[in-house]
Amino acid sequence: MSQQIGILAMFKHLDTVCHAVEKVKGRTDFKDHEVYSPTSYHEIEHACAFSPSPVRWFTFVGAMTGTVTGFALALLCDWDWPVVVGGKMPGIFSLPAYVVLGFEFTILFGAIATVAGVLVMCRMPNPKVKILDKRLTDDMFGIWVPGAVVDGPQAKLLKEAGAVEIKATR
């Protein structure tokens, strides 16, 4: 998002911003708008009505890969050079012992995939991010509308919805 041209409407209250979000939702002149929030208020999420996050697929695929990797690692390595320990043959006879490995790899790969999923879906890491307003990570809410101008209709609408401040970004 090298192009940061647009307007940012700042809100002070959660209910106000939710109200505003519901208003702008689906409008073509608010295409690609972003809502900013200092924390993950579910009210905003509901207002935005997002579809379920694809992160869960990352998790699923990662975890399953992990399970397979874990068991495969143990079985293949043992198959490569079977060494009898404790009176037992390696491989399928020792499968109970490999459950631990399978489990740990499931979690490990699942966790890594989940984080990767979050990063990918959140478009992170993003070193070039432009900070629109410092208060957005503190206690203020914001709606950023790309392509709009300070005195445009979108600004007016947001102002009406209760924005305490509207400023242009670039």
Binding site: K12, H13, L14, D15, T16, C18, E34, V35, Y36, P38, T39, S40, Y41, E43, I44, E45, C48, F50, S53, V55, R56, T59, A63, L73, C77, D78, D80, W81, G86, K88, P90, S94, V100, L101, F103, E104, I107, L108, A111, T114, V115, G117, V118, M121, C122, R123, M124, P125, N126, P127, K128, I131, L132, K134, R135, L136, T137, D138, D139, G162
Partner: protein
């Protein structure tokens, strides 16, 4: 929790919590200096024994081939349990009080796991080989690791736990780092900017973030329960009397959570005072932590009891002999210290007044930590020192070297934790905002 009267609003959160980045208490520097000294001691000692030989650990008096090393390992892994438990399980259970303590608890987890991982490494006779032979890496020997060894499971469990906890902790930190980024300037801004991955805080990001966080919590929950189970298998998979028992996994997990919660309390009380966070980490939150501690303490109490019962009921003479010796043998002191600290003292918390009495609760929490250390020590020494053949029985006491390393590991832990307190938000900014009164306009409708 609903009746908590917050004196602060979310607007105060960043301003007041992030003071730690600027002007910590004088005591902070004293504590840090002591910790660093301990770490130097630790590093020197480890270096020396790597070069000279493990013989300097005079507590290793066969048949006790493990003693303080594995005690510390299990102890620190146990400590490490509270963080992820608080973050993950309580997250899934939507316990609100967790939001005030989860960040520091997670940090504690990570540092405790580091301390824990150090011990199996340095206790190896040839750590310089063990460090890579114990991993299933391709090698010119064409030889792999033993996937059936509990120690290898340990390697997997601890590294998975560490990685997952780190990811969990860090992913939680990202929005807060962004908050810091937005408050500081210059070089710091660059650093925090990089650390925060360019978090913007859009609703879409929060949406994915929340999903990911939830899945991580879901993954971490069985992990927490598994890690200490696997650690307990270090003991349970051998056939030593007193070790070879199926009660170990739940017993260890309960003990771990007990020690972890006690450690959270032990850490938060001074930190909260040192950084003036009383208004955020409130007495009610700490009291909730105490309740969890009390719960696990009773589980542990039960486990101690049932362990004895099963030893007697099994009719296994070796098992029963070990348990009798635990209670009445040469190492009875450790046993009774452990029982008193872990089971008896926490009983005062049945009184609500005591739960809110921070001095007494603090003392009891410290005692629980002592008790949990002795629990592990007791398990190790009593089963090793007098097992099957009387001809091999011996006697062991921790030597100065081990005590030094134990102190050193505490120093390591404290140093990490203090550095964390200086450079990261001690309380999760975004999450505490969630449990604080919502910033409503006052006239009318809420979110939905």
């Amino acid at each position: 929790m609903s009746e908590i009267k917050w004196e602060k609003t979310i607007s105060d959160v960043n301003n007041e919590i992030l003071v730690n980045l600027e002007r910590p208490h004088k005591m902070y520097y004293v504590a840090l200096a002591i910790s660093v000294a301990c770490v130097l001691l630790f590093v020197t000692m480890v270096g020396y024994h790597t070069v000279v030989g493990l013989g300097v650990w005079t507590g290793f008096a066969p048949p006790t081939y493990w003693l303080v090393d594995i005690t510390n390992f299990v102890f620190w892994v146990g400590i490490g349990h509270a963080g992820t438990l608080i973050s993950a399980i309580l997250f899934l259970f939507r316990a609100q009080w967790r939001n005030t303590v989860n960040r520091s608890a997670e940090a504690m987890t990570i540092f405790a796991v580091i301390c824990a991982a150090v011990f199996p490494l340095i206790h190896m006779g040839r750590m310089y080989l063990g460090a890579y032979w114990a991993l299933p890496l391709p090698n010119t020997n064409n030889l792999w690791v033993n996937f059936r060894s509990p120690l290898f499971w340990d390697v997997c469990a601890i590294s998975t736990y560490f990685t997952t906890s780190l990811l969990f902790w860090y992913i939680g930190l990202v929005p807060d780092l962004a908050s810091i980024r937005d408050r500081v300037s210059g070089f710091k801004k660059v650093v925090y900017g990089l650390l925060s991955f360019g978090w913007r805080g859009t609703a879409r990001q929060w949406h994915h973030y929340e999903t990911g966080y939830g899945f991580l919590a879901a993954l971490a929950t069985p992990l927490v329960l598994s890690v200490h189970s696997i650690v307990s298998w270090d003991f349970a998979m051998s056939i030593q009397p007193g070790w070879h028992t199926t009660i170990f996994p739940p017993y260890f997990v309960a003990g771990a959570i007990l020690s972890g919660c006690a450690m959270v309390y032990t850490l938060l009380v001074p930190i909260r005072w040192m950084f003036g966070l009383e208004k955020f980490i409130r007495a009610d939150h700490l009291e909730a932590c105490i309740k969890l501690t009390l719960l696990t303490s009773t589980i542990v109490f039960y486990a101690y009891g049932i362990e004895f019962f099963v030893a007697w009921y099994s009719g296994n003479p070796y098992e029963w002999a070990i348990f009798q010796k635990r209670a009445a043998g040469p190492y009875a002191f450790y046993f009774w210290t452990m029982v008193a600290c872990n089971c008896i003292f926490p009983l005062i918390w049945w009184s609500k007044k005591m739960r809110y009495n921070m001095v007494i609760s603090y003392v009891v929490c410290v005692l629980i930590n002592v008790g949990m250390w002795f629990e592990r020590y007791n398990i190790i020494i009593s089963s090793l020192i007098e097992d099957f053949l009387p001809g091999s029985w011996g006697h062991a006491e921790p030597g100065l070297w081990e005590i030094g390393l134990t102190i050193g590991s505490f120093g390591l832990f404290n140093m990490f934790f203090l550095l964390f307190c200086k450079f990261f938000p001690i309380v999760s900014l975004s999450e505490i905002k969630l449990i604080m009164p919502k910033p409503l306009s006052g006239h009318g409708k809420g979110g939905h």
